[in-house]
Amino acid sequence: MAELKRINETTLEVPVGFKPGMHVRGLIYVDEHLARGIEAKCVEQVANVATLPGIVRASMAMPDIHSGYGFAIGGVAAFGLDDGIVSPGGVGYDINCGVRLLRSNLRQGDVEHRLRELAVALYHAVPSGVGSRGKIKLAQGQERKVYLKGARWTVEQGMGDETDLDHTESGGCLEGAAPELISAKASERGSAQIGTLGSGNHFLEVQRVDEIYDERAANAFGLFKGQVTVMIHCGSRGFGHQVCTDFLEVMHNAARKYGIELPDRELVCAPYRSPEAQDYLGAMRAAANYAWANRQCIMHWTREAFMQELKMSPNDLGMNLLYDVAHNVAKVEEHEVDGRNRELVVHRKGATRAFPPGHPELPAVYRKVGQPVLIPGDMGRASYVLVGTDEAMKQTWGSTCHGAGRVLSRHAAIKASKGRAIRRELEDKGIVVMSAGKRTLAEEISEAYKDVSDVVDVVSRAGISRKVARLRPMCVVKG
C-alpha cells in the first residue's frame, strides 16, 4: 500500500495505488496539525471514491473531513457525464443540508440584555427536537409545489420576498425536480415536517460580528463589526432521508445491473445517463427544494420573533438574507478541465460551493466580490463568513469546507461533560442556550468538534476561499 504524501503545507495526497482500482489520486486539504486528527477510515473513503467510474482530476476532501457513509463528510468529487456516475452517498442522507445567514441593523448592545427572551421566543417560533411537529401541514397537492418551487413556494405563502430568493444558492430552487418519483412514504414523512429545525448538529443562532478580515467583501455583504446576525443550519429533514433511503435500494440494484464494482455498499451508484441516476437526481432536486422551502419558513418565523420581541419594524431591523448555501448536493456544472470547458456532475457532501467573483450564477450584488460562503462552527466558539475565489475554481470545482467537523463520539462528548455545568459554562461566555433534548448540550460541547478556526485557516491558506468575517454565538437554539 502506497503512503500518504504531503504535497504542500495544506494538502495531503492519497496516491493512486493506495487502494486497488483508483483512477485518480485523492487530495485532502489539511495542514500538519489537522492531519494528526484524521481517522484511517476517512483516508480509505477518499481512496474508495477515487475508484468510481469517470471521476475527474481527484477525489477531494476538505479540512473538516470526518468519516461518513460511503463518501467521507467534507468530500468533493466530480464525474464526467458520459463516463461517470451519480451516487446518493456523495450527497448524503440530509439532502441540501445547508446554512443561511441573516444580517441586521442591530448592534450587539441592542440585544445583549434580551438574549434569554429572544432564545425563548425563537425556541417557540421554530419547532425543533425529537417529537416536534411543524406548524404547517401540507395539504394534498401542496407537496408537489414545494418539490418543484423550493423557497419560492414559501415566499408565495407570504413568508419572505424576491430578494430572499435572489440571495439563495440557485435561487432556492433546482430545475428538474421530479415529484412523480417521490415515494408515498417520503411524501408523507415530509408533509408534517416542513418548517422544523430537526436535531443533532442543526441549530438557529443569534451571533455578533467580532472580526472583519476583508473590508471590501464585508461591505458588499452588508456586514460590520459589532453587528447582530442570525445563522440557520438545517436541511430536508425526514423527507430527504426517506428519498436517500429509497434510492439506496434502487442504486444497489443499478450498480449490479451496470457491473460497477464497489468497495463499500454505501457507495452505490449508477452511470449519469442511466434512468436510475436521472431518477435519483430528479428526486434529489425535489428534496433540495424542500430544504430551501424549509429554511425559508424558519427564517420567516425568526424575523417575526425578532419583530415581536424587540418591538421593531422590518425596516428598522433590516434582517435581510445575506446568503443561503447548500452543503449536501450534486449539481451539473461547467468547469475547466485541461484547458477546455466540460460539464461535470459535482458531488459536494459536507462541502460548500464557493464561486469566484464574476461567476454568472452569483446575484448581481455579489458578482464583483464573489460568493458568500457560510461556515458554522460549534455552539461555544465561532462561525465564519468566507468568500469564493478563482483558486477554488481551479483546484476544487469551486468548493470549500462546510463546518468544523466532529471529532468526539456522542458518548465521549457526554463523558467529557460529566460533572460540568455546560449551560453555565456557556453563560459565563455570554452565550444563552435553549435545547429540546436533555443530552443535546453535552453531546454538542465545543470539544466534540475541531476548532472551526483551524479548518477555515487551512482553506484560506490553500486559497480556495478567503476570510471575510468571524461571528461569535450569543444565543443558540438546538433540537
Binding site: 481517522e39 470526518h66 468519516s67 457513509y69 460511503g70 463528510i73 442522507y93 440530509d94 427536537g129 425529537v130 417529537g131 416536534s132 411537529r133 412514504k185 408523507e188 414523512r189 408534517a192 415536517q193 430537526g198 436535531s199 443533532g200 425526514g238 432521508h241 426517506q242 436517500c244 433511503t245 439506496l248 435500494e249 444497489h252 455498499r265 454505501e266 466532529r406 471529532v407 468526539l408 463520539s409 456522542r410 458518548h411 465521549a412 429540546a436 433534548g437 436533555k438 443530552r439 433540537g479
Partner: protein, 137 residues
C-alpha cells in the same frame, strides 16, 4: 437477547445479540428506540403490525429498522416491546407495542433519521447471533 451501544464519532450505533435471528431483529429495534427515549417511559398502548422486505438478511435488518424510523418520524409512534411474528430471508412481519411520542412525558434523546449499511454486520457467533447497525442522526 440484549443490546448495547457502539461508540462512534458523529452518529450512533447498536450491537444486538441473541440466540436467534428473530431475537436480534427484536433487540436491534429496542436498542434503536432506546436511542430516542427512555424505554421505561413507553407504554404499550397500541400494537402495530410492521412488515418490511429486502434482499438478504443484512438488507432486511436495515429495511426493518428504516420502516420503524419512518413510523416514528411520520406518526410519532415509538415502541417499547417488539415481537417478530415471521422472519424469512426477504421478509419480516412483526408486532410493535408502544404509543405516540409525547415530548412532555417522554425523554427526548436522539432524532434518528436512517439506519445505514455502514459497517453493517449480521453474524453467527458462538452459537448465537450478533448484529451491528449504525444510524444517521
Amino acid at each position: 437477547m440484549s443490546y448495547e451501544y457502539l461508540d462512534i464519532s458523529g452518529d450512533a450505533g447498536v450491537r444486538a445479540t441473541g440466540g436467534s435471528l428473530e431475537e436480534i431483529f427484536e433487540s436491534a429495534a429496542l436498542g434503536m428506540y432506546g436511542l430516542v427515549t427512555d424505554l421505561n417511559g413507553v407504554r404499550p398502548e397500541n400494537t402495530v403490525t410492521v412488515e418490511a422486505t429486502s434482499r438478504g438478511t443484512e438488507g432486511l435488518l436495515v429495511a426493518w429498522l428504516n420502516e420503524l424510523i419512518f413510523r416514528m418520524d411520520t406518526y410519532g409512534f415509538i415502541g417499547g416491546k417488539v415481537r417478530v411474528l415471521d422472519l424469512g430471508e426477504h421478509h419480516i412481519k412483526a408486532e410493535v407495542m408502544g404509543e405516540e411520542f409525547d415530548p412532555e412525558r417522554h425523554e427526548r434523546r436522539l432524532l434518528l433519521k436512517a439506519a445505514t449499511y455502514h459497517d453493517l454486520k449480521v453474524e453467527k457467533r458462538d452459537g448465537g447471533w450478533v448484529a451491528e447497525v449504525i444510524f444517521d442522526i
